[in-house]
């Protein structure tokens, strides 16, 4: 089962995505900032990171920069998401060209599922059992 790491400080979104993506047959981990996200990468396997840009403690750009400079995480696909337009949200990131996709919030589930399917393939057989874990 493919594992997705959701890193977003926005209350409710990570919870909702965890449940919805679990329904689609993905295993989901979630964290509320970049620092906690990196902690998950260290202790568990992730096939893709879905990272919000604007977060406290360590933002999405900071997490992406560390991932791209760390051999163990370098090849993990990253999808950035933000309420700001892509041009504004990625203008200060030296690693913006290394992301797999950008999603402008609010986005709908179908857009996310299509993007995930394109980047890492579809989820396993749909399961109604939530398999999410939260740090």
């Amino acid at each position: 089962m493919k594992t997705i790491l959701i890193v977003d400080d926005e209350f409710g979104l990570a919870d909702a995505l965890s449940d919805l993506l679990a329904d689609e047959g993905y295993r989901v981990l979630s964290a509320a900032n970049g620092k906690d996200g990196l902690a998950w990468l260290e202790k568990d396997h992730s096939d893709l990171a879905l990272i919000d840009v604007m977060m406290p403690i360590l933002d999405g750009h900071g997490m992406l920069r560390i991932m791209r400079s760390t051999a163990a995480y370098k090849s993990i696909p990253v999808i950035l998401m933000s309420a700001a337009p892509k041009s504004a949200a990625t203008s200060n990131s030296e690693n913006a060209h290394e992301i797999s996709a950008f999603l402008r919030k609010p986005f709908d589930l179908q857009t996310l599922l299509h993007t995930l399917a394109r980047v890492i393939g579809p989820g396993d057989q749909r399961s109604h059992e939530a398999l999410s874990t939260t740090t």
Partner: protein
């Protein structure tokens, strides 16, 4: 990418919302019991299904669905064939009671996805509020729900009680839109109103709008002056439309300008209706569609009244050139009347309109202070539709020459004013007519005798007969009353005519 709108297809509501709800938005419908929340939500739900959407209706009340259906069955929008298919009802009460808000959220997530719902209705948030215990818990629930429905693109309507202070104020700050339904007593009459208190992402027609509930469901009637008020002023026309009475048309320097509004002012029985019908009849002879929009007499009586003075409307009606619309002056709503009038004008491309009379609108308007703006917006709309309008209005003074305009400021709202009055002479009532205002044109302001007989309506070609009538009562000769205040002698403005 602009947000996609979802039409409620509830008559008038999308106009108030300036396009409908937003897809994936979460909206709260508040109101006291009996305000119409459940009917509005079900009407929206069935309309949504009829348009190809899928609705999930979740009740949080102990009330059974059978009971709900039995009250909805008489509504025209209720379609039992959709039940269990595109329209699904389920109760969240037991899950809420047993598993609290987290359980309810899970239920909603699963049910919305399983049903592939594009519209979710949650009826009875007050129950969820009671289970939540704290405002914070309820806010968290609404936020999670908001994120969920936005992700799955499911527009959501939450029904709850009316405002009652801080306890349920907080969650209302979180939703994308807030609509309040209310009922008010005005005298013996109960008036229903809807108001959009909040609508994220869009303008709306602010303020209260009346609505009615019939077997067809809810119809909202946006305030006419707010709905039509921003239209651009139409260009002035120089085309003249005759009234169909030769001497009067001469007094009017050829007739009424196309698109103008004329106030026909006079006491009861002075002949306002017959004069207005002449205008409609004259139009039919020229194949100009005419509309009589009256309040006080049924169409059959209007036709027979016209026939008594040799004015045949029947052939015009038969040929579709004349339509008589009657609105009994009962508990009407002014904005609904305005919609009906404009629809009738558009339907037949009406050129000539006779509103008989302004009093019908006055009686139907709940807040009298609206009348000026209401009538201005309505007449501007009619002008922009190329309609030439005559509107009658009664004065309270039965015999005297005093002109009491019954609606403050109406003289400024109309282009022309024709005044009819009775004069008593040797125990006989005689009629006099005068044009006291005509915008854009010179006109003959002399008093003329105006007579109605079985041979028709006649306006005397000269002022002599009027002079002869007036010689029977104390009077001052009038010269140009239009440059003075109505009822005021121009040569001595402080002196009233007597």
């Amino acid at each position: 990418m602009p947000l996609q709108r979802i039409s409620s297809n509830v008559p008038g509501l999308d106009a108030v919302l300036k396009g409908g709800f937003f897809r994936g938005g979460i909206y709260m419908l508040v109101g006291n019991p009996g305000a119409g929340k459940t009917i509005l939500a079900n009407q929206f739900a069935f309309n949504h299904v009829a348009a190809g959407g899928r609705t999930l209706y979740v009740t949080l009340l102990a009330e059974s669905h059978a009971r709900l259906f039995s009250s909805l069955e008489q509504m025209e929008f209720f379609d039992p064939k959709q039940l269990g298919n595109s329209m699904s009802y389920l109760s969240g009460y037991q899950v809420l009671e047993g598993e609290k808000l987290d359980g309810l959220l899970k239920l909603l997530r699963k049910a919305v996805r399983d049903h592939k719902a594009t519209l979710l209705v949650i009826d009875g948030l007050v129950t969820a509020g009671a289970v939540a215990g704290t405002t914070l818990e309820l806010k968290k629930f609404i936020h999670k729900l908001q994120v969920l429905v936005e992700l799955v693109g499911c527009t959501t309507l939450i029904l709850t009680g009316a405002r009652n202070g801080e306890s349920n104020y907080a969650e209302r700050t979180m939703v994308d839109g807030l609509l309040e339904l209310s009922t008010h007593r005005v005298g013996m009459r109960t008036v229903r109103e809807v108001e959009v208190l909040k609508l994220r992402g869009s303008d709306s027609i602010l303020g209260a709008h009346s609505f009615e509930i019939t077997n067809a469901g809810i119809s909202v009637h946006p305030r006419t002056e707010a709905r039509l008020g921003t239209r651009a002023a139409p260009t002035e026309s120089r085309q003249l439309l005759d009234v169909g009475i030769k001497s009067l048309d001469e007094m009017l320097a050829g007739g009424l300008f196309a698109g103008s509004t004329t106030l026909l002012l006079g006491s009861p029985g002075t002949g306002k209706t017959l004069l207005g019908l002449h205008f409609i009849g004259a139009g039919a002879q020229k194949k100009e569609p005419g509309l009589y929009f009256g309040f006080f007499q049924a169409p059959s009586r209007i036709v027979s009244q016209a026939e008594h003075i040799s004015l045949s409307l029947a052939s015009g009606i038969k040929r579709g050139l004349i339509e008589l619309l009657w609105q009994p002056p009962l508990e009407q709503m002014a904005d609904a009347l305005a919609e009906k009038l404009i629809d009738a004008v558009k339907r037949r491309k009406v050129r000539r309109l006779f509103i008989d009379g302004l009093g019908g609108f006055k009686e139907s308007i709940i807040y009298p202070e609206r009348l000026g703006a209401f009538f201005t917006a309505l007449s501007n709309e009619l002008r922009s539709l190329g309609v030439t309008t005559i509107v009658s209005e009664e004065t309270s003074d039965l015999f005297g020459p005093k002109i009491e305009v019954p609606v403050a400021g109406i003289s400024a709202m109309v282009d022309n004013i024709v005044f009819l009055r009775h004069v008593e002479l040797r125990s006989q009532l005689r009629r006099l007519l005068s044009v006291i205002k005509m915008r854009q044109s010179g006109y003959n302001s002399s008093l003329r005798e105006f007579s109605i007989s079985d041979r028709g309506v006649k306006v005397a070609p000269t002022f002599e007969s009027a002079e002869a009538i007036l010689s029977g009562i104390a009077h001052l000769r009038l010269e140009h009353p239009t440059s003075s205040q109505p009822g005021e002698d121009k040569r001595n403005p402080r002196r009233r005519r007597s």
